[in-house]
């Protein structure tokens, strides 16, 4: 299953040549969860990762859906 992912915070720095307007396309198994996606991107829980899809913050066990763009961001407490 191909999913378009946009990376925010420092995550894009892991992917040389990352173009923000495009994001990256990842190929993960059908039924993959947020946890699986983060593992695929080699992002650990301690790095404050937040996955947001259609305006909602997903939990680790929530499934990622085909064709729905994903934003991966870092948690911040305020400004």
């Amino acid at each position: 299953m191909k999913v378009r992912v946009k990376l925010f915070g420092t995550y894009s720095q892991r992917f040389p040549g990352y173009q923000h307007s495009q994001g990256i396309e990842v190929d993960i198994p059908e039924g993959a969860t947020v946890k699986d996606l983060l593992a695929f991107l080699e992002i650990s829980e301690s790095q404050g990762a937040v996955v947001i899809v259609e305006g909602r913050v997903l939990k680790a066990d929530d499934k990622v859906r085909w064709g729905v763009p994903v934003n991966v961001l870092q948690a911040i407490h305020g400004g």
Binding site: F8, G9, V50, I52, G55, K59, A75, I76, G78, G79
Partner: protein, 573 residues
């Protein structure tokens, strides 16, 4: 430990010992409890009965990092409530090193009279005539002050807006580079300073008379423990130094809660052009500084220096709330314009948040088009020039709404909301409605709880409890002079215990588990609520504007659904 009382009517200065009742207090705790004790609640905020309190935190000037926050308090001319407006920079540490617990500005100078209040290296205070600085903008003012008194000088000052007594006027605070770019922006306290006839407070940074630490060895150990927790925090270690608070633009837009076009939408078109990631890229490309230390003794470095295409300084620091108010609310997705507006607001001495929202209300009322960058710059310039419209704008969003008979005005108790729409982040609505300060995100910012999945932003469950917890904790931390970034790393039983040991070692007492932050925060909030009650505020004032209950916010198309009864239970202590 001393108070410096300055009477602007009589031009007298008295130094007092700090009374026993105020021991262990600093910052917001001290300003709020003293306002409640000394300021007549129904007084004219711009009259001689109001007082302006300037207090470093209890730990400002001590070796604990991130404690250079200054609390400035008075009865607010914007909200009519008690007000503590909090700023970074260098002045809190400078006052702490001089052993000055608070400066209290009383009375009122004759109309047109203008002074500096200077505190020298020994902590001696004097009033200096400042007529020649009348109308001067803050950058030029601070440059001249540093020329006269040396670079190791901290300044709190007002620009033309404060002199005009506009109710969105700020008090600007100089940063480590001597730029007046940090602001006690909220509540219009610049107008109170202007009404007193005080143009600037000038403090020598070379003081060596900090209050003693009761148990220096224990203090050293406790500071080490707190510092380790702050440094280990991912947000402080990784995110803040690279993107600063602007790192919030992406998550809040992604969650559909970024109030845009005067809160008509929850996502700004083109927000990726003004997000923290893009800002850092631009700053790096142009040779600015994305990882800047703005405040004394900071170990986080969330500040930045934004430069123009020629690499010339424009402003520092470009912050999330400013990007939102002057960019999101106005529909201007352009960082160069936003940076210029930030510089103009700092220079004229107006709150970037109130000003951005005031412009958005004017645009919503049809006065200008959303997205019109040139019009936005002209409007802010009008504040500096003191034109009729500029004075309306400089009095904040409610004044603009009244001028245009426009009822979509996103304020509570007259003060604008912040960069989190209460229809898509319900907990912020609780904080805006119930904070004794009027709408104020810093009083209890819930966004971290949403991003860390502790709470669902659209589900009413848990919003009141979370806001209450944060409002109590922030009231306590604001008393200590520590910055918000370090505070959030300590929002756990372990963090509170570690921080309690710092306070205990400083004061020579052992704090119980309930003392910090709970008992202290509740004490401060009770004083604030008590002042507001005596000023005539009731629970009916703890409500959001009607449109938040009636007008769904895209993309979630939800409204604010916390009931009045639930709001009223926020401070059931």
């Amino acid at each position: 430990m001393k108070f410096i009382r300055v009477n602007m009517s009589e031009k007298t200065i008295h130094v007092e010992d700090v009374p026993q009742d105020y021991m262990g207090l600093g910052g917001r705790g001290l300003t709020s409890i003293m306002i409640n004790a000394e300021v007549p609640p129904k007084c004219d905020p711009l009259g001689p009965e109001n007082k302006l309190f300037v207090a470093p935190g209890l730990l400002s000037g001590s070796p604990l990092p991130n404690t250079s926050r200054i609390s400035i308090g008075a009865k607010s001319p914007l909200t009519g409530t008690i007000k503590e407006s909090n700023a970074g920079g260098t002045v809190a540490a400078a006052l702490g090193r001089l052993g000055i617990t608070a400066i209290i500005i009383e009375g009122q100078a004759p109309e047109g009279d203008l002074s500096f209040l200077r505190i020298d290296e020994k902590g001696n205070a004097s009033l200096i005539p400042a007529h020649e600085y009348k109308g001067m903008r803050t950058y030029q003012l601070v440059e001249k002050i540093l020329e006269s008194y040396g670079k190791r000088t901290s300044v709190l000052c007002i620009g033309p807006a404060g002199e005009y007594k506009l109710t969105a006027a700020s008090i600007q605070s100089s940063d480590v580079d001597g730029h007046p770019c940090r602001a006690a922006g909220r509540g219009g306290l610049g107008a109170v300073m202007g009404a007193k006839g005080l143009k600037a407070l000038i403090v020598d940074q070379r003081g060596k008379n900090a209050d003693p630490i009761a148990d220096p060895e224990a203090f050293k150990e406790a500071v080490k423990a707190v510092t380790q927790i702050v440094k280990a925090d991912h947000m402080n270690a990784v995110v803040m130094p690279q993107f600063g608070t602007a790192g919030l633009v992406a998550p809040v837009n992604s969650m559909g809660a970024f109030p845009s076009y005067n809160a008509r939408k929850g996502v700004l078109d083109g927000w990726e052009e003004i997000c923290g990631e893009r800002m850092a890229e631009i700053i790096k490309e142009r040779g600015g500084n994305p990882t800047h230390m703005g405040c004394t003794q900071c170990i986080i470095h969330c500040s930045n220096v934004f430069v123009d295409k020629e690499g010339k300084y424009v402003t520092s620091s470009l912050e999330y709330e400013t990007i939102w108010a002057t960019g999101g609310m106005t529909g201007i997705a352009d960082l160069d314009t936003i940076a210029r507006l930030d510089n103009l607001c700092d220079n004229i001495g107006v709150d970037t948040m109130s000003t951005g929202v005031a412009m958005a209300v004017a645009m919503d009322a049809g006065y200008k088009e959303f997205g019109d960058a040139e019009a936005a710059i002209e409007m802010v310039e009008e504040i500096g020039q003191g034109t009729e419209f500029g004075r309306i704008l400089g009095n904040g969003p409610a004044a603009v709404g009244k001028h245009f008979n426009h009822d979509r005005v996103p304020v509570v108790k007259g003060q604008s909301i912040a960069a989190y729409d209460p229809r898509a982040m319900l907990g912020h609505g609780v904080t805006y409605a119930t904070s004794p300060m009027g709408a104020d995100h810093t009083a209890g910012n819930v966004v971290g709880a949403y991003l860390e999945q502790m709470l669902d932003p659209l589900n009413p469950e848990g919003q009141v409890e979370t806001s209450r917890f944060l409002q109590i904790a922030m009231a306590a931390f604001d008393t200590m002079g520590q910055c918000f970034m370090a505070d959030v790393a300590l929002l756990s039983p372990e963090g509170f215990e570690a921080f309690g040991k710092v306070i205990g070692a400083k004061l020579g007492t052992q704090l119980g588990p309930d003392d910090f932050p709970h008992a202290l925060g509740v004490r401060v909030l009770k004083a604030e609520k008590e002042f507001n009650r005596r000023a005539g505020f009731t629970k009916e004032d703890d409500r959001l504007p009607r449109f938040y209950y009636e007008e769904p916010l895209p993309p979630h198309n939800t409204v604010f659904v916390i009931s009045d009864e639930e709001l009223d239970s926020t401070f059931d202590f």
